[in-house]
Symmetry: C2
Amino acid sequence: MDSTDLSSGRVESALRGGVTKERILDAAEHLFAEHGFAATSLRKITAAAQVNLASVNYHFRSKESLIVAVLIRKMSPINARRIELLDAAEKRAGEGPLMLEDVLDAFVGPVLRARQEGGEASNFPKLLGRVYTEPGDWVARIFPQALGEVAARFRVAFLKALPASEFVDAMWSMHFAIGSLAHYLAAPALLSFLLQEEAATLDVEVVQARLVRFMAGGMRALAAKKEAAG
Amino acid sequence: MDSTDLSSGRVESALRGGVTKERILDAAEHLFAEHGFAATSLRKITAAAQVNLASVNYHFRSKESLIVAVLIRKMSPINARRIELLDAAEKRAGEGPLMLEDVLDAFVGPVLRARQEGGEASNFPKLLGRVYTEPGDWVARIFPQALGEVAARFRVAFLKALPASEFVDAMWSMHFAIGSLAHYLAAPALLSFLLQEEAATLDVEVVQARLVRFMAGGMRALAAKKEAAG
DNA sequence: GTCTATACGATGATAGAC
DNA sequence: GTCTATCATCGTATAGAC
C-alpha cells in the first residue's frame, strides 16, 4: 500500500492508502450519502479526495457513471448477505414449505442494516432508496448489474413461497413490495407527516417487522386472486 | 381571454392566451413531465413559453418553487377527485362498514388516470411518483399544502376501514401503500426488468385492481398484528 | 406591478500537454 | 495516468424600462 517512490508527485495519494480511483469512490460515497447526488459536485468530491478534477472523467466517464460505480460497490455486500440469508432460509425449510416471511426478511434485512456496515453513521439506505426512482434512463441500466443474481434467486424464492401465484402476479407483488421498501428508505418525511411526529428514532427490528408483515399480506392477497376467482 | 390592447408590447403573449405566469407554468409542466426536473433548465422553459428568463425569478422565487407550483396545480384536480370518490364510498357504506378497497380505489384511481386529465399524452404520473422521493428538504414542505385535506380525510377513512388497527399501525401501512403506488408510478423500469418484458401496454383498470388488492392485503395484515398477538 | 437585458459564480465535461 | 486550461450551460440576482 505505501509507496517509496518519493521522487514522484503521487507520494501523498499513495501514502493515504489508495489509488486515485478508489480515493474518488470513497470520497464520493461519503459525500453522496451525506448530501445526496445533486448537491454533491465533482469539485467537492475531488477536493475531499485530494485529486484533480479531471481524474473523475478519466476513471469514470461521467458523474452519472461515478454514481453507478459507488452504488454497485456498496450494494455488493448487501446483496451477498441477502443471498446468504436466503440460503439459510431455504436450508431451514428443507423439503417443507418456504416461508414467505423468511424470504422477505432475507431481502429486507440487509438493506435496513446497511448503515451499520459502513462502520460510520450514514444515510446510505436513504440514498439506496432513491436509486429506484431517480429520473433518467441510467437507472434501468444498473438493475441487471446491481441485482442480477439477487433478482434471479428471489424470483424463484417468491414463486416457491407463493404456491398459489402465477409468475406475472408474483413479479407484480415483488415490485409493489420493493416499492414499500424503497419508499420507506427514501421518504421518511412523508411518514413523519402522516404520523404527525418525528419518526427518526425507530428501531430497525420494529420497522422490519412492520414492513415484512405488510409485504407478506400484500403478496398473499395478490397471489390469492386466481384462487378466489377460479 | 383575447386582448385588444394592440398598443402594448404584450400583444403576442396575450394573443397566445395567457399571462406570463401561466405560460411559464404550462411550459414547465410539459417539459418537466417529458424530461424530468433536473434535465429541464429554466432557459428551456422560458424559451418554450416565449418569455424572458428573469420572469421565472419574478413570478416564482426559484426553480424549486416553480416545481412546487406546477405540482400543486396538477395535484389539485386529482385530490378533488379523490375526495369526491371517498365521499361517494362513505355515502354508499352508510351506517355499515366502510370497505377498505373502496377507500383505496378512491385514493389510487385519480392518480393512475391523471395522464388523461391533461388532454394530452404525458408521463405526469411518473413525475408525481418522483415527488415522494426527490432529494432535498423542499419535498417535506409541499406535503401539507399538496395533500393536507386529502391526508386528513384518508387518515380517518383508513382508520374506519381498518377497525382492528391502531393509529400508528394504520399510518405505517398507509405509508407503505403510498410507497407501492409511488414506486409503480416512478419506476416502471424495474417492473419491466422483473417481468423480463415491456410493461408499457398495461390497462389502467388491471393495474389498479392489482395495486388495490396488494395494498388492502398489506394493510389488513399490519392491522391484524395486535389482534394476533393479544 | 411586470417584464427585460445583462451579468455573476458554479457546475459537468473535454482537449491536449506532460 | 494525471494535469492545466477552457468550454458551454446552469440557477440566480439586479438594475432599470415600461
